[in-house]
Amino acid sequence: MPITRAKRLIVGGAVLATLALGLAACSSGSTPSSTASASGSANSPALTKLIKEAQAEGSVNWYSAIPVAGSEYAAQQFQNKYNIHVNLLGLSGAALLQRFTAEATAGDYNADVIVGTEIDALSTSTFVPNGWLEPVKKAGIPVIDSKAYPTAFLGQTTAAVSYIPWVIAYNTNLVSKKDAPKTFKDFADPKWKGKIITSNPAASIAYVEFWDRIQTVYGAKTLKAIGANMPKFDASAAAAAQDLAAGEGSINAPTSVPALAPVIAAGAPVAYITAPITTGSKLELGMTPSAKAPHPAAARLLANWLLSPEGDEAVAKVGHDVWVLNPKLTTKEIQSLAVAPDAATRQPQILAALGVK
């Protein structure tokens, strides 16, 4: 992906309108099974054989950085469809990789399938050369072999599953929809001083990458102005959502729908807006080499399902994420969420601008 990544920084409003539409579409929820199934390959002999082998294995270990509720929903769908038990290990991005690599270093290959945050570069530079993962292109996944999965989303050794876009949330008791910020630029307005809730930008590289985009688009001055408006940082996105619901602040960003979902579901006065300029955490799928995976066939079946529209939509459903196979979005629209690959190099400057000590 890095080749295409650098090119699409500024994205037009029209494109994002569609993106928002796409989000709305998936949130309004057509059931996963009703959408286009893994066409063509559904009845292919290769898949039939794979299903049989996978069912003989009986279960599959899935390491996922997708917020737990989303992974769990998808796992349940997969289980219902194939009667194969999914052992899910859900951890946040870096912790998941820490765990995965520690196990792999020790020679304990427990994961069958890993879906991590932005893992393609690492997978290509380290995991595949070390024999911890194998390139998805060579992993014998039917939808990839049959080219049903679009090559545009194939990384060098992994395949993209979904993006979790950063959104703007506001407390509907404290801010009317009309007054709520529509873009991240609005956060620089002094009227929000002391009213912005945000997750500690130093808690994860993903936040740094997001603020990097804001700086690239709106300029360093705007970023500094936003930083001046933020009084304090929450330890996690969940804590930030909680603070917003309680009215500790009026607006909350960057946040994600999965983080907001629990309070919204509980009836908290929280609503969210998708800004035209934003980024998202890209979730990519990697495969443990079949010789080492505890359940190689089930792993391939799970990957095949996750990379086909039915599974892909299921993964994104709970979190209202952007799933890469969403037919209502163009590739370009989806890829506009990708972050600058070199964002991390600007980390100290970005954190300083935001006032992180």
Binding site: S92, N110, F233, S236, A238, D243, A246, A265
Partner: protein
Amino acid sequence: MTTTDTKAETDTEAPGGLDDIDAELAMAVVASPWARVVARARRGGWFSVLSVVLGLVFAILVIYPLVRVLIQAFFGDGTFDFSIASEVLNYPGLGQMLLNTVILVASSMVLALFFGALFAWLMERTDARIGRLAALMPMLPMLMPAIAGAIGWVFLLAPQAGFINAIIRAVLDFFGVHLTSGPLDIYSWTGLIALYTAYQIPFAFLMITTGLRNSDASMEEASRISGASLRHTLMRITIPVLRPSLGAAALYMVWFGFSFYSVPVVLGTQMNVKVLPVEIVRLLTFTYPSNTKVAVGLSIFLIIAIGTAWYFQGRILRSNRHSSIGGKGQRNSITRLGKWRRPAQALLVLYFALTFVFPLIAQILVALNGYWTTAIKWSALDITRLWSGITANSQASSAFGTSTLLALIGATIGMTVAAIFALYLREHRSRISRVLDGVIKLPAALSAIVIGLGFVLAFAGPPFNLGNTLVILLLCYLVLFLPQATIAADAAAAQVDRQLSEASWVSGAGNARTFARINIPLMIPGLVAGWGLLFVWMTGELNASVMLAGTQTPVVGYYILQTFQFGGFATLASLALGLTVLNIVVLSIAHFIEKRTTARGI
């Protein structure tokens, strides 16, 4: 490794003292210290051999994973990375971070010693004693996972939406004072220190209570009769007599304080106040490849702090060998507080309310309402939300089973092993045994996540293949909490007069039988208290569990941390309440058993 060195220095520094004498003398007979240990072990029969072997096994369980982490961190590319020293020393904000940590630990320690001693004295020596509270007191803040406790206080005292603040504002409003936020703010140094103190008090209380029970009240009476004032008696008699207990309490507090994660991660992040243990975890989870090197490097400061505390505690213990009187038959004289009795009891109840009841109510409210707000919809409270966090997710509910099982087994093995060590060390103070003791206590100085990582590297793959099993979790929990277990066991062993075990040996019983028939039954009260602490810590363990919780063996701590990072706080509250109930039930049963066993004529 550094602690091992520190330990060795301690040994050469102070070879004297009556207890060390036979070790020193034996040196003359058998040249090598190892041969000496072996010879002594053999003399003590198979049980002593078992003690030494257990010590070695646990030392290996500590050292080997640590070595793997060090190799991973510093020899990742085959050569040693010397930049680590400068990288750690030039770590941005290091000075401020260390200062923050020291201020928090030191101030909370002083406050906790004061309140802990006050509460211990009220409970042990005055008529303000509230019997029902005494057993619960040392555990109070720990009944609820600390991260949930900290969040509970945010629910109560956040400047805008804190429940208590809202109530105060409503009251002030009635008197015509209008505030839009506050007046109290948990996100302040006061709030931070107050919560640290609340979590530290139990250690002081536990240790000082033990000390008071073992010291004769007549010493204080004698001082008062000699005409000394209460203050003079306190300074010249009570405090010197309690010095070993105070030392043990301080050590516990430094250990706990320097690796305390839950409160600073919740409050410190908001306040932009960095502390060491949170920063280490952040370095390991911020990005991958993570900065393991610096994270491990920063652990050195934890090791230094804790090693220093340990050294001073050892000195206090040695210099006070005779001032605390063991044995039995001491009567507890009860001071009548008169008009102060009710206020004193009110203070005890207030502590109970502040550390347990209030945060619990806050958590229950948030769970019932589904999210945190001061505008609670009383009509729409949903009772099922109290347990939905556990029941809605099949893995979360099985995590409760796994955690309970692990903690039951882990606490039992942990306390048994700790008791064996404590007794062995009491009888055999050789240099080697003290090094073993130091190594076993080392994990207290390391971040749990570092140890968890080491366990994966060391034991997950071949030849052990323990990855994602209950066994690796169990071993890691044992290593993590054995230091705390040994302190509890040391205290329990100190309460049993040595002559009682000597009488058993002379009667013809070997070490094993003496341990089973004499020491264990007599140590039961202390061991059960320690067991309770271990159980609570093991069910609530967060950071190592993230590395080790298996796909088939989920544990509660892993779910709590997950929910904290990316879930609803109502779910978190539900998980925390579940754990609180579990802890209370298990501790009550343990307490009941303890009472049953100690009721027999002692």
